[in-house]
Symmetry: C2
Subunit: 347 residues, 2 copies
């Protein structure tokens, strides 16, 4: 068989190499870097090709494709959401993603994105909180202590200067796992027996639970003035975490309204419920937090541009770090019209 040309190969970042990459840079530094990359792409939000993700729903989960493009580079992520996976020993969310060159359509990078999604989700939350949370916030309640929890804690430490996290999960085992993983990382970690206890003294409340149902993790009377809520877990139709009375009292900030109105906490509200797009706050086109006593809510569902930023970050690191394999993924005949000849000569 004739050896494939260079053109045939696509750099692939495996799970093992993604973990090596994170350790080579340091997990908190990765959070800081990703928050900066995502913020930079939010600044140039209008030039991206945007579309709500393309979802294929089944009774027990969803598989989604999340494409975007800045006109030079195209990216998409494949991601699933299957809350029942956990009971089967599987991840609720797994993902992989791709970058391609818009001018040729040829892939530039294929990467695992289960770990990268966890990192970018936390970095996005922390970046948003930098703009929306009350100044000098030091304490975060973390309700839901599953796979995303530690990433959120470390991102808020690295990006926002949070020094205390107060953990609560309906399953005490999850809280123990989270507390053990966060031990020795420079955070004061308090395991709490109730959500009410977890939010005591917290300026930031992060909700990151996974049940696919309209749950009420926070009720209205639990949320005081001057708090920032980072609502991460409500991210598909029928899956919410907050009582709607909280939404009425809060200033609500979103990524991409056409997607958030279907998938986010605001799916509970009328279609014309007022929201502010986060990119406009970052760009100075809309106010963020206007009052120390206001309640701000980042109704986060995850948007394709965040994955694009994360993939570009990883792609940029490959030159210096290596940490990829070369996949023979693109057929590249010498004469581009001679695909059949290439196939036959391989006999």
């Amino acid at each position: 068989m004739i050896a494939p040309s260079k053109q045939a190969f696509v750099p692939f970042v495996s799970v093992a190499n993604m973990m090596r990459l994170v350790h080579a840079i340091g997990v908190e530094q990765v959070m800081v870097d990703l928050a900066a990359e995502i913020e930079a792409d939010f600044r140039r939000w209008p030039l991206f090709d945007k579309t709500p993700r393309v979802a294929s729903h089944s009774e027990i989960g969803v598989i989604e494709l999340m494409p975007t493009s800045d006109g030079e580079t195209y990216g998409f992520k494949y991601v699933n959401g299957h809350p029942s996976n956990m009971k089967r020993g599987l991840q609720t969310v797994t993902a992989f993603g791709l970058l391609a060159d818009v001018s040729t359509g040829y892939p530039l990078l294929l990467s695992e994105m289960t770990i990268l999604t966890a990192l970018r989700t936390a970095a996005t939350s922390a970046m948003a909180a930098k703009w929306l949370a009350p100044k000098g916030a030091t304490t975060m309640a973390l309700i839901g202590n599953g796979a995303q929890a530690e990433f959120q804690a470390l991102a808020f430490k690295a990006v926002c200067g949070i020094s205390e996290v107060r953990l609560y999960d309906i399953d005490a085992k999850a809280t123990r796992k989270c507390a053990a993983n966060l031990a020795g990382r420079g955070l004061t970690v308090v395991a709490c027996a109730t959500p009410e206890e977890a939010i005591l003294g917290a300026q930031i409340i992060t909700t990151v639970t996974a049940d696919k149902q309209n749950a009420t993790i926070l009720t209205d009377n639990m949320v005081g003035a001057g708090v920032h809520i980072n609502a991460v877990g409500g991210d598909c139709p029928g899956k919410t975490e907050l009582h709607k009375d909280i939404l009425s009292r809060a200033g609500v900030f979103v990524e991409y309204p056409p997607q958030t109105r279907v998938e986010g906490e605001i799916q509970q509200m009328p279609e014309d419920f007022p929201v502010t797009e986060l990119w406009q706050v970052i760009n100075g086109q809309a106010p963020g937090r206007t009052d120390a006593r206001a309640i701000t809510l980042f109704d986060s569902v995850g948007f394709a541009i965040e994955d694009f930023s994360a993939l570009r970050y990883v792609h940029g690191k490959l030159k210096s770090l290596g940490l990829c394999d070369q996949l023979d993924m693109i057929a590249d005949p010498d004469d581009p019209r001679d695909l059949f000849g290439m196939l036959m000569r391989a006999a």
Copy 2:
């Protein structure tokens, strides 16, 4: 570093392995098999989750995602279309695809699909012609002798019993390449200097040109009675091959109307221009060819279900043939909620 679990790996069919697979089975047998798989999936068309492909257009090309699901298995293809790539020594169309388990969202197969798309496109054309072309057709005109041409010729030989192909391309070099590749394969191959010469005596006319512009490969006076037209090259907005007068005279058969009305030859016609869905012909719900003198036209743009059928075929062959690598693509911690712990233990 801890070795990844079995769950972490996704079988990957590289370009080299796809070529081995085709040779292990035989290219004509693959065409016959794929035509049967695609026909079987067209028979159960209503149960598929269908959506027009998600396209990201730029000035010089398009990148598309084509998802579908039968409720048990999910599949999607990434594919580009960049007619100008050819001048740069690159493929106009490259592709890869994925199958996943709907019940868990976990990938089952990642595969190159540049070669597989060429195979499934030809198999789909031939399958449609089996239902629509005049009985006893022996001669096919093949206008456009680029990367897809030989695949079309062999599929029509293997599936429809075509014995003569008459080649024409605006570039005589492409015709020479195509004729050389088809030599010794049991077909009478006639290289023609004009499209008019190519369609002489042909019961089937296949148009498979690549320019992204509204071109008129066939004019109305070139198409006589009792012919089947297999229009493959018109497959995105602004890219057509047939004069609209031909469409008015022909019975037009399509894959998925919402996509074909945007991308196919019928983009030239009013929105309510009558078409028949091919799956209904196969299912006996709509008539196909009703008259030996009728003109039938398969206005093919390629639909996600055809890729799904092709990926499932390849996936089914891996058990006996091997021919795949295992990609460490899915993070799989022992405790699914302990993604962070897995990452940290990898230090």
